[in-house]
Each structure stands twice: as C-alpha cells, then as structure tokens.
Amino acid sequence: MKIITQISVFMENTTGRLAQILTQIGENGIDIRAISIADTNDFGILRFIPRDAEKAADILKNLNLVVKKTEVMAINMDDVPGGLAKTLSEVSKLGIDIQYMYAFSSIDSEEPTVVIKTADVKGDLEKLNKSAFFS
C-alpha cells in the first residue's frame, strides 16, 4: 500500500479529443501505468498514473492542457474473484469514504492494484496501516 501521484486532465467531450491527448502523452515519452476517465455530456476528466508524475505534469502543462496532480492510494489485492470486493469492503468498514477508484492488474508488483481517492488520503492510509486486515 502506498501513496502515489495521479495526473488528471480536463478535456472536452468531442470525438477524437481523447485519442489526440493520449497521442501527445505517448509522443512525449510519458509511460501510463493505469488510466480511467470520468465523463459528462460536455467534458471529461482523464485520470492516469504515470511513472514520473512531475515530468508528466510539466510536459502536459506546456501543451496547454489543464492538469492537476492528486495524491491517491494504491492498494494491492488478491488475484482471485472477490479480491477487489474484499479490499473495498474492508476499506469501507474503517469508515473511509471512497470518492472514486479504478483497478488494474499491476502497477509495480505482480499483484492487482486498486487506486483509491478519498477525502484525506494520508490520514486514511494511516488508518489502513493500523488495521488488522491491511497490516
């Protein structure tokens, strides 16, 4: 379990815009480890975990994109059916409210990982560290 930096990018919800932005990200050598997108009719928020968040943020700002760096939690899970459900229920049991999440097969380790955003990532991670299930 650890805190990692997520980059979020504001983008208009028009055909081709997503591919365009991802192309720019790729052309600039930014390596995406995990990615998700939240959308409305008019706009979307692209969220991704790059290898080097500082570098990624700088590059994207220079491309006139509106970016934000956010600290999020990355928690490993059991690679079995129900693994994600178990992890998330234990998080909820500790009274931690999940704002959004996305999960992937692996980020740095062999185990599948869930990325979670909460209101107080540092504080909530401490709670998890102290709990029986996660320590």
């Binding site: 997520q6 979020s8 504001f10 983008m11 208009e12 939240a38 959308d39 409305t40 008019d42 706009f43 928020i45 969220r47 006139n64 994109l65 509106v66 970016v67 934000k68 956010t70 704002q99 959004y100 955003k117």
Partner: protein, 445 residues
Amino acid sequence: MKGVNDYKMGNYYQPEIECASPEQIRAWQDERLVKQVRHMYDNVEYYRKKMDEHGVSPDDIKSADDLHKLPFLSKADLRDAYPYGLLAMPLSDCVRIQSTSGTTGKRVVAFYTQHDIDLWEDCCARAIVAAGGTKDDVCHVSYGYGLFTGGPGLNGGSHKVGCLTLPMSSGNTERQIMFMRDLHSTILCCTPSYAAYIGETLREMGYTPDDIDLKAGIFGAEPWTEEMRRDIEKSLGLKAYDIYGLTETSGPGVSFECSEQKGMHINEDHFIAEIIDPETGEVLPDGSKGELVLSSITKEAFPLLRYRTRDICVLNREKCSCGRTHVRMSKPMGRSDDMLIIRGVNVFPSQIEEVLLKVGNNITPNYQIIVDRVNNSDTLDVLVEMSSMFVADDVKSVAAVEKNIKAQLHGILGIQANVKLVEPKSITRSEGKAKRVIDKRNLLD
C-alpha cells in the same frame, strides 16, 4: 387570412396632429422645447448643473434649432441620478413609476404624472389606430404587465381607442388562445418572440389562423427581422406592425408603423428626434445613419432632453402615402454600445465579465458569449476557458463550478444562461484578442 386587406387607409387617432403641416409641427416643437428646457433647468438640479458646466442657459434656447446646444443625457446619467435625481415634478404629483428590465445596477426608474400617462397612452392609441384599430376591436395585450412599460402602455392605448381590452400579460399560452377564440381578439400586442410562440402553440393545439379572428398585431420591445414578420403574419393570419419606445421616453409609442410599413412615424409633437455620430456627438443630416437621440418636450415628471438611445437608425422626412406628416425612423439597425437584448432582457457583456471575475478569484478567465435563436426563443451560451483556477480531479467539482457561474449569472442578468467550461485556447482568437460576443441571430437585415 382574415382582415389583412381590411384596414381603412386614413384612420388616425388624432388626425389634426398626425397630419399637421410640417410648419405646425415645427411650431409646436419650438414652443415646447423652450418651455421644457426652462422646466428642467428650474426643477432638476442634476440637469441644471450639466447645462451650467456645458455653458448653456435656458435663454440660449429660442427654438428647436438650438437643441444641439444642450448637453446629452445617457444611461450613465440615469444610473448616477437614481432614483430621484432627474425628477422634475414634486413626488406628490407623480402617480406611477415604470422600470426597465435588467439588473439592479442598471435599472431606470421613470416617473409619471397623470398628464404624462395620458400623453403616453395617446401615443399608443395612435399606434393601435394606425394598425386599423377602432372601438369595435378586441385588443389582446400580451406584453408583460408590471414594471415593464409594454403592458401598461398598450393597455392604456387600447382604452383610449375604446377597444375591448384583454389584459393578458404573457404566459399561459393555451389560455391566451382560448380567450382569443372565445372573445374574438382582433388585435394582438406582444413581443415578436411571443407572437411566434403563440403561432406555434396555435398549430400544436390543432388550430389554423382561420380559427382565430386576429387582423393585426403590434409588436416591439426587441429587434425583429422582416423574415420574422413574414413568419408571424403567416402563422397568425394578421398584418404585423412595428412599434418603438423606451422606458426613458415613457415606453412604447415613441414611434409606430402605419399601413405603408416604410418606417415608423415618430410622434414629433412629443419628441424631437436627432441622429448623431455616436463617436463625436455631431448632429447628422436626415438620411444619415447614426444614433437616435430623443428629447421629450411634453413629459412633466421625468422628461429627458437629448437622451442617447444607443439605437442606430435613419430618419426619413419624405411624404408618406398614409397621410401622416411626422418624420419616420427606420427599424433600429444595431446599437452604438455593446448591449444585447436576450429574451426581452437587456444584457451587457460587462455584467457577464463581472461574474467571471468574482468566480475566478480576481482573474477573468477567457470567455465567449454566444447568442442564438432556437425555436423562436433567444439562447445565451457562455463559454469559459478552463484554467488552473477551476481544475479538479473529479467531475462533481467541475460541474459545481459551472453551476455556480450559472447561478451567479442568473442573479445578475435575470435570465438563464448555458455555461460550458472549455479547454484553454479553444476560444478562437483573432489577432491575439478573443471575440467576446458572437450574435448568431442575424437580427439586422
């Protein structure tokens, strides 16, 4: 279509005035202007100061030829003088106020004595008779009633003519049509947008123009094109007439279209019209395009001299076949300021900018205002470029920014705007500067 060719040429409400000789009109203007200048100088400190600063006294005004010597009045003066600064009669002699649409900061409060109301209603009566109205008509008034001058003005005019007056105001359109049918309305008075909407609703209810008895309509309070006129005439089966006025000059009835429909006759016994160059203030000859300036020479409580309307038009003194001798003004062709009229409400781009400044923590983001017309109703879209001020990692926060801007705009403007956050640099720039207002309505043809 019933009644389109039914009007009688040569029907006037006050023929001895409307068809007076140009010399007689001129004599009225000379006499009344001199009296009005004295009235303002003696009773309105704000205007007396202005005249003094301008180096002109009432003795310098001996006829309408001297009008150009007087200082202008503009909306800014009305704001500075709000509310009583331009009142020329004791408050106890005033029986009414009317006020413009717009925000608190830009409201104009006009005061009226009973005499002012009578004269105003006479002007509206002239418009109704010019549209073929007689005491046997049923006048359906769907302009808003209340502070807005449309309803009260045409309501009063209708009474003067002796029509059966239906004080409908706007809204509840199916009921309006029911009354139109059951009480056989023959003249409709409302905004062109609302007339178009009534036409649509009529069709949706399964009726055709043959199912109603309208013969004429008197439409104004917002810009409208010849194309809109044709559409309205078709959908309601009537002859559509234009009318013009401002709250500052009492309301509708400053000028009105006659059967010839080649411009609107300005009631020159009540108003002296000038056309000026909006940049220099120089008075331009008849036939020139410029800003219309109006001087009220018969109003008592709240008379304005050389009031800059910001409307651009042309004056035409050629003889009109209708028999009226008062000068005609063209439909306004634009404005000398950046004011927009959206759904009947006055909107200044600066008001929108003010809201964005507040929301953006003292930095105005790049924005663009797009005004369009969809289904006969004006739409207002405000595009705001996303910036580091608004950036968030979740949809809720961004949506909240949009919602907040929308709510603040509604508070300031009084109308709903669609707010859309867009990516930086997506608002097209020309020569480094973004075009702030795009009006797609093509109101000037």
